[in-house]
Amino acid sequence: MSDHVQHHIAIYKKVAAALAVLTFLTVAVSYLEVAVPLAVTIALLIAATKGSLVVSFFMHLIEEKKSVPLSRRGIGLIIGSLLLTALFFLVIIFIPIFGHADKVGTYFTLPNANAPTVETPAAH
């Protein structure tokens, strides 16, 4: 038991060091002059890396995976509910993005179309 815990403590220390480095990196990268979409991608990638370290090691999700054999209980209740949650989380995050990108029903003209353009003044 004790050896097992000692092994865990060694991992916790490494994870703590990695989180400290990544926090520093997040702030350092934010000072770079890059385009907004790239900055968002980098920041979210670093945050996702830190998040997965916390969830995997501090919250022991890696071991939850091991303790539930694939053959016996499917993917396990914890991982299963988290996958479902992650799916719905992505849905609610992407709804506003897709809504914003959606141009169906918006009035616009093709270059060769005869339809009146937006700039055409209304006839009096």
Partner: protein, 196 residues
């Protein structure tokens, strides 16, 4: 009636009800914060202009608080590991540090809020500040909740160690899972609100 399977694993789930319960609660919390993150995306996409977080907020303070909260997560796993090694004194030491760091986080957050109020930045000042105060405010409420639970386990709640070590260790594991979740939310809030 006692709640079943709080010490032994339930055969069909392979988990104690404590652990399954806290994970399901955390899943619901993901959706609670998810709704706010979704609102953030919507508000930001349709906003005519959006301030750079670093020009409104204090990035060094935010970075310091990030380190404090991650530090409290680290001491929380050490507190749990101490109990697994049958070391109540070690648990009390690390749990004490965890609570101390949580309070430090709240103090720094208080200074940040106070500074915003002093320069006339209120939740109704702009859309950015509205979502900033809503998200960090809800997060701060979670910190307060965690501090209350952790303080209980450090103080009167630790008496259970004398009667049922396994159940007490399971309780600390559940409290730890919650605490790491609060840390996890901040890991995303910090870049989203302060840096982007």
């Amino acid at each position: 009636m006692d709640i079943p399977y709080i010490v032994d694993e339930r055969p069909d789930t392979g988990l104690t009800n404590v652990k399954l319960g806290i994970w399901l609660f955390l899943a619901s919390e993901v959706m609670l914060f998810g709704a706010l993150f979704s609102s953030y995306v919507l508000l930001r996409l349709i906003a005519p202009d959006w301030p750079v977080g670093a020009e409104v907020l204090n990035v060094p303070m935010g970075t310091f608080n990030t380190a404090v909260l991650i530090g409290s997560s680290v001491t929380m796993v050490f507190a749990y590991a101490s109990l697994q090694m049958d070391n109540l004194a070690g648990f009390k030491k690390f749990m004490g540090i965890t609570i101390g760091l949580s309070l430090l986080f709240m103090v720094v957050k208080g200074f940040e809020y106070n500074h915003e109020f002093e320069i006339g930045n209120f939740p109704w000042t702009s859309t950015y500040l509205a979502i900033y105060f809503t998200m960090t405010g809800l997060h701060a409420l979670h910190i307060i909740g965690g501090v209350i639970v952790n303080a209980y386990f450090l103080g009167p709640g630790s008496k259970m160690w004398e009667t049922n070590k396994t159940q007490f260790t399971n309780r600390i594991e559940a409290a730890g899972l919650y605490w790491h979740f609060v840390d996890l939310v901040w890991i995303f809030l910090f870049p989203v609100l302060y840096l982007l």
